[in-house]
């Protein structure tokens, strides 16, 4: 089943507002993660930038939403931020290059996820199965889990907030029920400035007095 897509700004705003959100804190969290990643140097271990980016994106999101009453959950090392009513949560993950794009393949998470993520995705699937086939059921045993998915290449960083409903045996989330496309921001690949066009370096005349 193809996911419900929100692409145009007014659609995006409406979809987010249903969740009590606006685009700004979501994308700012994504940028915060990027800034943390780019603060790493060649002396950091190679896997650190990725972990750093993920961790700081999550932290920035939690910090941005805390004043609105959102809380954190690290249950089973599945790290999310939970909306004040507890009915849904947001996790953070890096995604494949199809992240934030409408054309092309369905995005997948880049890294293999653990059993807690699988449980959450299965719960999503269950939850919405109930909604479709037994709309009278009101008790919700599980909360829904959205994923703030980001992807950066050399040219830009893209993000979307999406509701997963399928995870492969390989541990990658590969199916989505709803996708809210948050857009992109351009990045600089290598800014190695061409030799700066310096002004003249004056030669100072120092003459011995007679």
């Amino acid at each position: 089943m193809s996911p419900k897509l929100h692409v145009q700004p007014d659609e995006v705003d409406a979809a987010l507002s249903r969740l009590g959100l606006t685009p700004a804190p979501l994308f700012e969290a994504v940028i915060a993660g990027l800034l943390a990643r780019d603060a790493c140097t060649a002396n950091d271990p190679p896997f650190l930038p990725g972990i750093y980016q993920w961790g700081k994106t999550l932290r920035a999101l939690r910090e941005a939403l805390a004043p609105s009453g959102w809380s954190r959950s690290d249950e089973g090392n599945f790290c999310t931020v939970v909306e004040p009513g507890g009915s849904f949560a947001i996790a953070v993950a890096s995604g494949s290059e199809d992240t934030g794009r409408v054309a092309g393949q369905m995005p997948t998470t880049k890294r293999r996820k653990g059993p807690s993520t699988a449980d959450a995705v299965h719960a999503n699937a269950q939850l919405y199965l109930f909604e479709e086939f037994a709309p009278t059921v009101t008790s919700e045993p599980d909360r829904a889990t959205w994923v703030l998915l980001f992807h950066n290449d050399t040219a830009e960083i893209r993000a979307e907030l999406s509701l997963p409903d399928s995870i492969g045996d390989d541990g990658h989330i590969d199916g989505w029920r709803e996708r809210i496309i948050l857009g992109s921001r351009p990045l600089d690949d290598e800014i190695v400035p061409a030799a700066p066009d310096f002004g003249p370096d004056p030669t100072i005349d120092v003459r011995r007095r007679a």
Partner: protein, 345 residues
């Protein structure tokens, strides 16, 4: 004064009386004063120094300094005047070519001075050389006053800038531009006008990183990785470039705050990443090279000035590549004192 008295082994009143000229110190006391202050005894009988005062000098971090540090810095200033007078009596140096821009906003003042000097929008290759070419004398702060950033002052019609050469090259360039700001913005008002430091910072920022030049080279997404590459365009610190991008509206408040945190966490406020080469004085190099050719060593210059060669070294520290010839630094200060100490009767 109390400390000097205890070092010399006399009362504080005695020191005060020596100062006022009530009575001269004994030969023995004089020798101990010379040893304690590391000035040759002859120094204390030289003509009166034109010592800079806190009112005429601009200090960036006056509030952070102890009175002792401030006085030490000003004392170094007095020695620099002596050295400079000595040099100028023997060499023709460029005269001052500064403007009085006290009525201008710092951003405008920086632009006006750039136009006056024909710099356009281009980055400045060497701040020390530029200042020297425009008639500003550049000396080093005493080695032992790390807490003092830099200061500027006028000695009659000659502008002086003292830079702290222990800081990074980028920091040194910013300090030099900051002090240039004081020289053109605050010449007659003194440095103690409200916001003088802020104005000098804004001037330095605009002088080193002209608006149009930054707009033409601005990153699409400012991250530490891109800023560390980009800062080489203007030879500024990553922190100074970040500040400038924010001041020009090229990064949002939120983005700026986040970058500042990353800069702090990365330790880049104290250790500049991928730093540039320190700037050196062209005038001092040429003057001392010319003297050397005439067979005049640095030690000989110090003797003529009646100061210890180490004091002379401090004035040029970091601005010159130290030559061993004639100016070899002694293993210990007491030993070098021994070479010069002559009690004048």
């Amino acid at each position: 004064m109390t400390r000097l008295a205890s070092l010399v082994g006399v009362t504080a009143k005695a020191i005060s009386d020596y100062e006022k000229g009530e009575y001269p110190p004994s030969d023995e006391a004089l020798a101990r004063i010379a040893a304690a202050t590391r000035f040759p005894s002859k120094f204390f009988f030289g003509c009166d120094l034109h010592e800079p005062t806190p009112d005429t000098a601009s200090f960036r971090s006056m509030s952070r300094m102890t009175a002792g540090q401030r006085d030490a810095a000003l004392g170094a200033g007095a020695l620099a005047f002596m050295l400079n007078d000595w040099v100028e009596s023997r060499f023709d140096l460029p005269g001052p070519d500064l403007l009085d821009l006290r009525d201008e906003e710092p951003e405008v003042a920086a632009s006006v001075l750039r136009q006056h000097w024909g710099l356009g929008e281009r980055p400045i290759k060497n701040m020390v050389h530029l200042l020297e070419a425009k008639g500003v004398r550049v000396y080093s702060l005493a080695e032992n006053s790390v807490e003092v950033d830099a200061f500027a002052l006028w000695h009659s019609k000659t502008p002086f800038v003292f830079v702290n050469t222990l800081k990074s090259a980028e920091h040194g360039r910013f300090d030099a531009a900051h002090e240039l700001g004081h020289l053109v913005l605050h010449r007659h008002s003194g440095p103690h006008v409200p916001d003088a430091e802020k104005q000098a910072n804004a001037f330095a920022s605009a002088f080193l990183m002209p608006r149009a030049s930054v707009l033409a080279n601005a990153p699409r997404m400012a991250t530490l990785r891109t800023l560390i590459q980009l800062k080489k365009q203007w030879i500024v610190s990553v922190a100074a470039l970040t500040y400038r991008l924010h001041a020009l509206g090229l990064v949002t408040d939120w983005h700026y705050r986040t970058l500042c945190i990353e800069i702090g966490q990365s330790g880049y406020r104290t250790h500049e990443p991928d730093g540039a080469q320190r700037e050196r004085s062209q005038i001092l190099a040429r003057v001392f090279a010319a003297l050397r050719e005439e067979g005049v060593s640095k030690t000989a210059v110090a003797e003529q000035l009646q100061i210890d060669v180490e004091e002379l070294d401090r004035l040029v520290f970091g601005l010159m590549i130290m030559s061993l010839q004639g100016g070899a630094r002694s293993a210990s200060s007491t030993k070098s004192m021994g070479d010069h100490l002559r009690v004048v009767k």
